[in-house]
Amino acid sequence: MMEIGLNHYLILSIILFTIGLIGVMRRKNLLLLFFATEILLNSVNIAFAAISHFYGDLTGQMFAFFVIAIAASEVAVGLGLLIVWHKRHGTIDLDTMSTMRG
């Protein structure tokens, strides 16, 4: 059985980040877009925690906490907006939101 080291965590982080990025680009549903963003943020958190542990320095883990806190508030605001939008337009499809067309 192979020991799980820093590289494994980083590879997991990259995989999650890629999934998140593809999700951000491909999803048309606003709710799923939020999920994808969360995946992105958490992939970064994994990297932070792993590197922090690797170096024995708590700064990275503290940073991860901050990211979680900010992500939570972002989702709270975002979901609030999403609900308002859904009440007004009856849909949360991204392609219908193009009022800022240049």
Partner: protein, 640 residues
Amino acid sequence: MELYLYLALFAPLAGSLFAALFGASPKIMIAGIIPSALLFASFVSSTILLVYILSGGAPVHVEMMTWMATGNLYIPFGFVVDQVSVTMMMVVTVVSTIVHIYSIGYMDHDKAFNRFFAWLSAFVFSMMVLVMSDNFAGLFIGWEGVGLCSWALIGFWYHKESATWAANEAFIMNRIADLGMLIGIFLVYWNTGTLQYEQAFAVMPALGTDILTLMGIFLFIGAMGKSAQFPLHTWLADAMEGPTPVSALIHAATMVTAGVYLVVRANPLFDLIPHVGLFIASLGAFVALFAASMALVNRDMKRIIAYSTLSQLGYMFVAAGLGAYWVALFHLMAHAFFKALLFLGAGNVMHAMHNELDPFKMGGLKKAMKWTFIMMTVASVALAGIYPLAGFFSKDLILEVAMIEHHYIIYSVLLFTAGLTAFYSFRLVALIFHGEERYKLFGVHPHEAYKFMLIAMAPLLILAVIAGSFKMTYFEMVTAVLPATEYHVHSAVAYWIMTIGTQLFVIAAIAFAYKKYVRSGITVPDGTSKMENRLCYKILSNQYYIPYIYEEYLVKPYRELSTIFWKQIDMKVVDATVDGIAGIIYGTGEKTRDMQSGNLSTMLKWMVAGTVGLLSLAVVFGLAVRYSVEIKAILSGLGV
């Protein structure tokens, strides 16, 4: 004394700004009266300063504030009132006060009355800066200021094509000369490290003759433009398009003498380079004769007087060039008085004759305009140099200087010119005031000018008569700063022969002018008489064809060259480049606006693409820095 200095300097500026407040509104009397009153204050302050200097006071030198101080360059706004500048201040303030008061009457019916006074006072302020500055930089500011005001006043009636043309001609000619002047000032700075007169002149004797000669020549080029010396003289006659008070103030008494003032002010420099001085004197003598000859046949009253001014400026340059600076300054002063008087008289005549300028269409005006007649006659007598009027003392002195310095050619040229001067001055007087009343044919009813205008002119009349008696006082005053050479012909007999000879010659010329032009049967020349078809008459009346030559051989080729540059270089290279850049940016915007679809999904894709792009750039540069040594080795191996 500093208070008076500032008052003398800034009162005209205050007057100008006050009149400018009403620049766009219809005529309002105070716009003329306040500037005149302020100028009078300036005149009084100048007089106080003159009395102070005359009673042996030390020159007043003030440094108002620092203007430029960087590195080794230090130029203050410094002003000095010494014997030379106080002379100029007196000339400027006396003549301009009189001209201001006169203009209240002269510009009475003009719509732009207020604007006129704003510019006229601004001119006086610039002139005061010019003469009072204690360094070349301040002199140059004043120099450009008077140029600007001169431009605005020549082109005062800008609805007239000829006036705007003449204004631009004067401005452009002066710019050409000012380039020379600027080079001269730069040379002074490079070689002496300062622009203050005193310090610069103190260093100059240690410099090489070559560099001093260059300085002298370039500074004199500036003087040539302002004082309209050949070959930059054509603008002065055309400048007569401006209102007559402007001609009296700017183009006779003050601005055109700035060149003489510059040479006098830079006398320590010109003393070191006598060969340049000789050139100046020769050019002056040539211009004196050249301009006087053109005045002989001209048929425009104001142009005749303008040529006369040109001729007298030539006299001043002869004196200055030969090192007789105080004589030059003395003639400058005397000339300012009688020439301004002559111009203002001409203004009265113009008003009476409804802007008619041809003296052949006048005649017999002495009945209708007694006082103008007296004033113009006195001014002409003074100009001709008859004892005991101002011109006798100053002009004969210049002749004596030429004689004593053994420049006999210059002497004879000047003597001959003195005869011509007398002739054309009295030709003018005879044609305007004597003989038959030819103006009746044209249905004009002449009238004398307003009384207050005549009263305003009276001080000039008195000065034109008595200015000569100040000679010795003046000599004692200015020679505190100028070389004190007294000019006396060695033997008394020679002196009397010279003086009486000159007087007789001049009187003969006057008599000839009267004989020729005070007879009945003079008609307005129509180009058919024998005289008018002579070659020499044609040459003279066409001003030696110099304006024609300038037009044909300088202006037209230049215009064609400019057209080529405009069409080939400006349009096809410069404009095309600028338009091309604008086009690219515009086109890029036009193409990339599709990105801005408003669709969040698309935008996120672009965001990801941008992040990836920036990250890869960072990686590439990071690697390049990391391996820079190896990359350089590879590149040098490839022979790059």
